[in-house]
Symmetry: C2
């Protein structure tokens, strides 16, 4: 039957009558067309019509806006079919057929041409319509509507020009409502409209109905490439190649008197998800009157009084369609002289909250299965349910009050309100004193972390989505708006300003990290908790049963770990130890360690090499002498003393950090990554040192040239200035020696470990000592030690060998059994190529897809996002931002190689992902398909990932079932 | 027969008698062992002996220096066989057998333990030897030699301590020559030696012959892992896993009187390659006496007088062995009481010049085929024949005179002598005045290119192998020593100094870019020309017939192209257009272009977008108005004016550049790469601007604080200082806006082209206009336009579409037919993954293996080479420097994917390589195996590549033949 229906229009390429389609043909017919076809199919009252399919639009675009061959002939044939069905003729003055034209893409989107009604009317058919209906006012109003809609949407004349004409007419007549205009008034308005069209476009409003229809159809096609539609598709990642369908349908009229009306309704409340029909209607009106808001529509329930029969019938249709589609429906209907006509049915859009409630309710009602319920909720919606957010009405009000300041990068989601503070020390002080603080900086660096830890949110005017501020904020779950370049942040004057609006230190500011918006003053925020969201908890519990992929969290601090566990994390997939180094009280030690590392490590290496050589040839006196000499040099060196002192202080602090993490994750694995960033990141910035030394030098030179200059009060003497300059110059030299042209590709990760083995040995000692200590107190510690940035197997083999010694030493000493693993990040292309070799020395892999994307594309995210990357995405040069969603043809293929190589060498190898992609639903689906063991993401994204992982598993199962 | 010989020792794992082996067993027996075995096999007189094979050494190392099970038993059995052969017994006081122990790895290398002679002597067998030979002096001298060699090489006692004892004895006796010492003296020396051993090592010199033998064997094994041997293998890329063999051989004595002697000889002259035996000998001496140089050896021809019979026999052996091996032999022989014994034969090492001459001569003589001749010359040797070089003796003399200053990076080969000059302007002025100049800078940047163009060589104290200086120098074929950190370059004081030695501006300096050495003063240099080297030209003509791979050259300037053609290049594989930008007279234009590009391009884009939109909807008045407005903004903008003025000036200049290239390469393809480096590379440096502005600000502030300060003579007023500061600050802002954290992964290559399309459109216009113009003058121009840094096919599609328009426009306008191609560099991992897609829009591929290596390893070469990369290579963490030789498991696999993807999409796709690997023989072999069409390298490496390509083809053919 279905096959026969689909086969029928075989001869016609570009069009289908409604009765020739069904709900499954959404891609071809668009959402609206498929809905009309399906309603037709199940016998609901739908005005006859046909759909010009999306292929026609694609062909039109492909050929540079040429009308596809045969399309107009097909339209003509379809129009004749409609004429036969309703016994009227298009353009026939005696008995005119009127039609509407509506766009209907696969996904509805703003900016697409919406609707033109009453096509077929012209000066001559107007008379026929008057005669036929005996209602001149109705007919002239229909003509007025046609010219207005056509002029605006097809001819592109600003809508307010038409509105002005109507306003003037009403003003002349001193009435308020359109309904108060009579046939004569409308005749005048029509004339004025036609003059407007002439003057705006230089041609007459087309009188030929076929020309009207042709132009309307092409206007729909063209609107597919309109700027707003393109922007929308870019933003939502919708392909530009889909095209839109066009629906041509016989008109029915809700404005034919008091037994007529029109309305829209949802089968459940789209804001809350509560059960029961929800909608509104207008009597004696056409559809656009409801939308336009000129008259106040009534709640749908009142239709029961106005037109009980039609209401009952509509109720039945609603129930029937919700059951038929097993989904909340968004319906449009018209009642013409007591008779109900359905004009649209589609899935109802809903808020995140409603989506969860509806899905869970429907599953409980037995309408859908739990699996279907899981597939009904967008993972991204869950994210919104867990971050504090601003009340949208409060935002609108604030904007109206001129408090909107600017929009930056939505770097870390959530809403935050606090007092603007312009330096980290103040932020820390105020935060500890219990004041809510937003830290505002041009950009942040490691020196600011103590301030960030005590802030409610971060706002920067520079830097991209992986700037220090953004990364730390996401790690901390702090809302962050980054790179808000419109703002001038003046840290000297303690204020930020844009377009004359200024916020001073201590004044309130509100930032929305989910949208990037910045407001002055306080905005009321809603702080949802997972514990309060019963339906969400239930849905996630179903997700946990459905998914195969584990969900772990990235957490650097015990409190993040606690939050992650509440959100359902099954392990820590990434603890970045260097974030512990960045804390203010530790930085001096870290710097002491770094500045002495080179000299100290050379002496340590020398001593070790001598001892080894001597052990091999114990009879060799020269070697013995070298052992003694090396030992003396070691003991005599201040660098070694400072280096080792710093290391042992850091050992104690890191051990405490890890103890906290192991306690929080009791029984669950904790992957600790050894130090990764280049060491100069921990040192004062090159630029500020260069500025300082240059300034000091110039100052000294200038003052030397002045005779008998003596320092004033509070000024330094020349001698003191010179000493200060020498000190700064020494610092600058140290920083310069470590400076790199491309630090991302420099002395980092395992390369650092191989160059300064004592640092990572200290870290491993801290991890294992912490594990032993908590084990003795009954906690189950499951440490997994992760070595970053491996490109060659030898790097890993060498490092692994050294570190295993440290682990054994600790375990022997502490006499405790602790299960541990060594593994590596896979974050360089070469590691993917030689994953098999690497797996010989790694008990687990964790994909660092951020770096992997950077190296596979050869794009530095920090440099690119602000400069060209997002522009390329916007222009369609890159289909997506590869830093948000894994690029499958490139990065994805490399990952596939690595999984296959790794598991061939070591069957059952544990493989996860800890890059930011681990929280992106589309990437999670890909990770599932790769057969990874888990994804690891920031704690707040754990629920999102649980749902996305479940959906991936379900879709895979569905596909397997289909393939069978 | 051979099989039987090889099968015989099956039972014994670790040893072979000489007669059980042959020349093919080099891997197992080492070079020396295989040579001895082969001489045995062909019936030459070789003292009996056996070889402990390399497997034994490998096993010894593998087990952490445990003697392989069964080895000592085998040695015992083999010794018994020797005893039977010669009728003496090891350790038998009555008739003692003496043996020598020599190392013998597959490749001979310095640092390996060399030789211990006379093992088997002790206090008791000494007496036997005295009785047996009736020559007490000879016997005591043999004992003396044993203890001396054993003490030095096995026990590690410094050789000079033994020498001192001999010197003292000679002094006491007031004689000069060792031969003047009699048996009594030697007895005293032996006693002194034994006391020395006791005091140095705490134990007696071992009296047990078996213990002597065991210790000597292990000493050979251990020397495999000695520092010098390891360093040597690292440097020469020899695997550390090969192990060494040990040869134990019955002693023969060249010091048994006036009918005895010993010598070494080559079958042809190893320095010049001339025909005829070349060598020297000593009568009544042991081998080490020849090497030690205590007595002056005589030319080998004189042996005809001393021992005519032995000489004739030796001549015969020489001829026989050269014919047998079909290769120049390096021989050692001893004549014991008139009887000739052969102790070694191996391929003779030779200079580059000799290698070429010998190979060509032997092929002409019919001794070897042309193919073999090609395989006999190391491609690297050819490189040495074409670069100017210093006479090694002159170097030695200069070093002895204290003129050696330091050693830096050998960044670009060749010898250069000139006057030290410390800035580019002076270098240009002096150079143009005909003075030879060496430009000495801390580092170079684009501002220095005009100076480099007029210099004979470049010396920098900072920067690695891809620093600006190194890259430009290699491109220009200029010798360059880079990153010579020991030197202090003081550009203010116009001098460079190290350890108290100073060279001032205008004084001579000599640099060797092939070794990195720097000398003060003038060193005589030899400047070879290809045209003068007939044998080399002949060899290369044979190579051209043998090779399948094309050899092209990288050349940015017409004169490079001319040189490349002389050297045999068949095309230009890479012309870097940006190098043309770097010339001093163009930099101002380039900067004008860059500083206005952002604003101008935005206005150009707006205007273009408006025109396109209006063309689509000609009826739309709003769009027409926008076209007008955009056009006005365009015309009104100063940025656009400056931008376009700069572009059209550059267009004219670049056109001229390209005309020169096309003329030089008449008929051959010229691949021009569109601009690649980030634009900020052309701007003044951030650091210097920051220093200047900071200094100015500090100066102003300091002087503002001084009451009634007035500028002195030549000083700027405060107002002038402030104006200067504002100017510099504006420059700094412009540079800062373009600054990138990781410029290598930033706005470069095609990304630049997509962001500023007018720049690459200008370049393509210049290329095609140049091609048209020279075509009209009868030159055959074959332009291939190359787009760099593609990662996504859409980038290329978009750019290609735009540029093809430009090409068509030029061709239409000029009315000339020019064959052209568009292609892309494959230099990012992603491009390798999606090479098939990319090939849809590329008519050729060129591998940029430098960037590909950087991204696949995640290593920035500039940062890494100086800091950790070479260290990792030295430690064996990386098997080779991947920037010198293509890393096959990573980069190579990616290339393989790209070749296969590209040729699947576009069969016969032209693929080449233009990275620096294109001149590396091992990488060339790999490129051959990948089926590339050509390699492109710097002009001087073209002959090297021709030979390497031929060798690759020959080896492949040989392998195929073997496989059949």
């Amino acid at each position: 039957m279905a096959a026969a229906r689909k086969a029928a229009p075989g001869a016609l390429r570009w069009t289908q009558l409604f009765e020739e389609g069904d709900a499954s043909m959404r891609e071809l017919l668009g959402g609206k067309g498929a809905g009309l076809a399906e309603m037709c199919r199940v016998g609901l009252p739908v005005p006859p019509g046909f759909t010009i399919n999306t292929k026609a639009c694609v062909e039109y675009m492909r050929t540079g806006r040429k009308i596809p061959a045969g399309l107009l002939d097909e339209v003509e044939a379809r129009m004749r079919a409609l004429e036969e069905k309703v016994g009227k003729r298009f353009g026939d003055p005696a008995n005119p057929l009127l039609v509407s034209v509506r766009s209907g893409a696969l996904f509805s989107m703003p900016g697409m041409m919406d609707t033109v009604l009453n096509l077929g009317l012209n000066d001559r058919t107007l008379d026929g319509l008057i005669r036929l209906t005996g209602n001149e006012r109705f007919a002239r109003d229909a003509y007025r509507r046609l010219i207005q809609m056509f002029g605006k949407t097809v001819l592109g004349i600003p809508g307010e020009k038409f509105e002005h004409i109507i306003q003037r007419a009403k003003a002349r007549k001193r009435v308020v409502e359109d309904t108060a205009l009579d046939a004569d008034d409308l005749r005048g308005i029509v004339d004025a409209f036609r003059r407007l069209v002439k003057s705006e476009r230089g041609t007459e409003f087309p009188q030929d109905p076929r020309e009207q229809l042709r132009m309307a159809i092409l206007a729909v096609f063209n609107s597919w490439q309109g700027k707003r539609a393109v922007d929308y598709r870019n933003f939502h990642g919708i392909s530009h190649d889909l095209g839109t369908a066009v629906n041509v349908q016989v008109m029915v009229f809700g404005n034919m008197g008091s037994d007529s009306g029109t309305g829209v309704a949802f089968t459940r409340n789209p804001a809350t998800g509560e059960r029961g029909m929800f909608g509104e209607y207008l009597m004696n009106a056409q559809g656009e009157d409801v939308v336009a808001g000129i008259r106040n529509p009534k709640p749908i329930a009142e239709l029961a009084k106005d037109l009980p029969k039609a209401y009952d019938e509509f109720l039945g249709v609603c129930e029937m369609l919700e059951r038929h589609y097993r989904e909340v429906q968004d319906l449009e209907f018209t009642i013409e002289r007591g008779r109900l006509w359905m004009l649209q049915t589609r899935s109802g859009k809903r808020t995140a909250q409603a989506a969860v409630k509806i899905a869970v309710d429907m599953a409980r009602e037995g309408l859908i299965s739990k699996e279907e319920a899981l597939l009904r909720v967008e993972p991204g919606q869950i994210d919104m349910l867990l971050h504090p957010r601003f009340d949208p009405r409060a935002k609108e009000a604030a904007s109206a009050a001129g408090r909107f300041m600017a929009r930056g990068l939505n770097a870390s989601p959530g809403a935050a309100v606090g007092l603007a503070v312009f330096d980290a020390d103040t932020a820390e002080a105020w935060g500890k004193a219990g004041k809510p603080v937003i830290l505002v900086r041009p950009e942040t660096n490691p020196d600011d972390v103590h301030g960030m830890l005590n802030a409610k949110g971060i706002l920067t005017s520079r830097g991209g989505a992986t700037s220090h501020a953004a990364v730390v904020a996401r790690g901390l779950g702090l809302p962050c708006v980054a790179g808000c370049e419109a703002l001038r942040v003046d840290v000297e004057a303690l204020r930020l300003s844009v377009d004359g609006r200024t916020v001073r230190q201590g004044e309130y500011i509100s930032i929305d990290g989910g949208t990037g918006e910045v407001f002055s003053g306080e905005l009321p925020a809603i702080e949802p908790r997972l514990e309060d969201q019963a339906e969400l908890i239930e849905l996630l519990s179903w997700a946990d049963k459905a998914r195969r992929l584990g969900v772990w969290a990235n957490a650097d601090y015990p409190r993040d770990a606690v939050r992650a566990r509440i959100f359902g994390a099954e392990g820590i997939g990434l603890c970045r130890t260097e974030h512990m180094f960045f804390e203010e009280d530790r930085l001096p030690m870290v710097r002491q360690m770094i500045l002495n590392a080179g000299e100290a490590q050379a002496l340590l290496d020398r001593s070790r090499a001598a001892e080894r050589a001597a052990a091999e040839r114990p009879e060799d006196k020269k070697l013995k002498a070298e052992v003694r000499a090396a030992g003396q040099a070691l003991r005599a060196s201040q660098a070694v003393r400072l280096y080792q002192a710093a290391l042992s202080k850091l050992l104690r602090l890191q051990r405490k950090d890890f103890e906290g993490l192991f306690r929080a994750m009791d029984g669950l694995p904790v992957i600790v990554r050894l130090i990764d960033p280049p060491l100069h990141e921990f040192l004062p910035s090159h630029d500020s040192l260069l500025e300082e030394t240059s300034a000091l030098r110039a100052r000294i030179e200038a003052l030397e040239g002045v005779r008998r200059w003596r320092p004033g009060k509070g000024q330094l003497s020349l001698g003191a200035l010179r000493a200060e300059m020498r000190r700064k110059e020494a610092q600058l030299r140290a920083v310069d020696a470590m400076r790199e042209a491309n630090p991302m590709l420099g002395l980092r990760g395992i390369r650092l470990g191989l160059t300064y083995p004592a640092i990572i040995a200290m870290q491993v000692r801290a991890i294992m000592e912490a594990a032993c200590r908590v084990t003795k107190r009954g906690v189950v510690a499951v440490p997994e030690i992760m070595i970053p940035l491996v490109s060659h197997v030898n790097e890993l083999r060498e490092t692994h060998r050294e570190l295993v010694e440290v682990v054994r030493d600790v375990l022997d000493h502490e006499c405790v059994k602790v299960a541990y693993k060594f593994g590596t990040m896979i974050e360089l292309p070469r590691a993917c190529f030689v994953a098999g070799e690497i797996a010989q020395h790694a008990e687990f892999f964790s994909f660092g897809t951020n770096d992997l994307t950077q190296t596979i594309f050869g794009i530095s995210r920090d440099d690119a996002e602000g400069k060209f990357l997002l522009q390329f995405v916007e222009k369609g040069i890159l289909p997506k931002n590869p830093f948000q969603t894994i690029d499958r043809p490139g990065v994805g293929e490399a990952m596939k190689m690595a999984v296959s190589g790794g598991r061939t060498q070591r069957p059952g190898l544990e493989i996860g992902i800890c890059g930011e992609h681990g929280g992106d639903p589309e990437s999670i689906e890909f990770c599932h398909s790769l057969g990874l063991n888990y994804v690891s993401c920031s704690p707040y994204r754990v629920p999102v990932a649980r749902l996305a992982a479940a959906q991936a598993a379900l879709r895979e199962r569905m596909k397997a079932a289909r393939d069978v």
